[in-house]
Symmetry: C2
Subunit: 334 residues, 2 copies
Amino acid sequence: MAKITDVARRAGVSASTVSYALSGKRPISTATRQRVEAAARELGYRPHAGARALAGRRSNVLALVAPLRAGIHVPVVMQFVASVVTAARRHDHDVLLLTQEEGEDGLRRVADTALVDALILMDVQLHDPRLPLLRTLDRPSVLIGFPRDCAGLTCIDLDFRSAGERCVEHLARLGHRVVALVGSPPEVYVRGTAFAQRVVQGFTAAADRGGLASAVHPCEATPAAARQVAERLLRDQPALTGVVVHNEAVLEPLVSAFEQLGLRVPGDLSVAAICPDELADRLHLTSVALPSAEVGERAVDLLMEKLAGGLVPEATLLQPTLNRRASTAARTTA
Amino acid sequence: MAKITDVARRAGVSASTVSYALSGKRPISTATRQRVEAAARELGYRPHAGARALAGRRSNVLALVAPLRAGIHVPVVMQFVASVVTAARRHDHDVLLLTQEEGEDGLRRVADTALVDALILMDVQLHDPRLPLLRTLDRPSVLIGFPRDCAGLTCIDLDFRSAGERCVEHLARLGHRVVALVGSPPEVYVRGTAFAQRVVQGFTAAADRGGLASAVHPCEATPAAARQVAERLLRDQPALTGVVVHNEAVLEPLVSAFEQLGLRVPGDLSVAAICPDELADRLHLTSVALPSAEVGERAVDLLMEKLAGGLVPEATLLQPTLNRRASTAARTTA
DNA sequence: GCGTGACGTCGAAGCGCTTCGACGGGGGAA
DNA sequence: TTCCCCCGTCGAAGCGCTTCGACGTCACGC
């Protein structure tokens, strides 16, 4: 493996000049720079990452903590991960993957050993135990998702509250007066995952504001649970005509269940989902998309800004947009 | 951040003694070692990863190249990734995540910069363009999946050929004489993904051997495609009584489609799947499980062995086991 | 009593890079 | 013509760790 002194020798300059020529941190004459670049190319020179990290106090690696627990939709996580990795590469950074289970020790480890320059956390809880650590850590971080209090942190996510609102408003505008939310599995609410709760808040607030009757039903991520919820919905709210679903796993079985129960979508029942756009598109559902890729990218951008010493907002909420598809229609005044 | 000299001073020894005491690479008296350990603990000492990599020529980081393309089941990928990360941590290694798109350049980059000590590749093609590179690279690697020729490499995977065979043999034993395979999306075969082809080979070979009539149908990963395939199956092979499915995404819609077409499972039609066990369990399907977690772990173990200078087999094929569930039954001699 | 290992520890030399201060030379201003 | 400054380059120091060779000490054997 060629090292910087090899490149220097071949270009007929000193090692420091090579460094400056390649990093651009000091002006180097065009002629010299070109000679250096040529030498580096010819030798296939690649700076040693460890040496660079040691001398330069930057590893050019980000840590990404990805969740792998029940109740979160795996493809969404994977999308995040993929977009973070891709975005990081655009900024010449690599991504070290940590699992949620590593916990605070893992974060401290990769930060203290200077393995990573900065951290991205997914699946943040309302009272996440990692928050105090993050606030004291000397390395910048970005949270995907919102804890109760994000003072001193940097958080980004889709505005789930307004996603809930948009769905209800859409149904209200179509004349629906009785609506229900089919939500995430109960454990997701129990452990205090903010985004799930925010959807509920938005849903309820918008329904109240619009004078709609509303109900909320958590739902396990199984077809059987979907069927049960469908039945219960019709029993509890016979006048129900609009349903908002925030649970990728039961989307399809839920719609099937409704149809098996004799309800046509959207003829008798309008359904709006909060889910990845690709899924909604496949099922022809009106939906608010989860912009995973965009969130991941923006998270990396925020992190880079912080690494560069810039100031970034504590909270970044991406505004949802509702895509109308075939599953919602004006209420038929039967 | 405390450094090794701080620990040395506090323990009243030299830096090299600290290094040896903590690494165990030379004998150190118990008394000294304990003083060093105490000092390190009290100072919260963490060796700088870059310095360590530079001096020790080991970064303790593995690269994992994960696919993110069409036709592969995302949860399976995620399982692999998770198990690799977890297993790596057990060996005191971290995992750098690369995307397939980074391609050969990405591999060369992380290897040449000494960012990683070793590599794990998923989603290997029969004639994978990365193979020549891997063979010449100075760093060990393990492939999850098999290329056409794995000489000089280390490959591991479930024995998909025998998975196909096991399914057919199971159906044959139950008296079925006409069987079909519903496979992966066509593009998966086109681009030469070995495991998909191996299933087909095993399926066909076992059917021929047992004198069963057989047919193979690739199938897009959509419910609509599943329905079409179901219909075509019944049209093409009216005597069909056994189906093997190797396509996670269409498992559920396919079974539904059969039932909607008036066929009871397993009464009229036996169905065996090759899919993650969790999915098969949820759908009550007889299946050969995809042991993603085990494959990931074993891959890491192999890599560690190679890093330690050991010799490992070029090919490791995990033997499949068939779990009998409610979707297969003896053929009713109607 | 002295030689001989073995054991435990130390000092110094790097690992390959970045960065700081310094320096030489050429051009512009006086 | 002289002085000054700036541009482009160099040398050296150091980032924090591992590792090699060496050295002192103690216990043992003769």
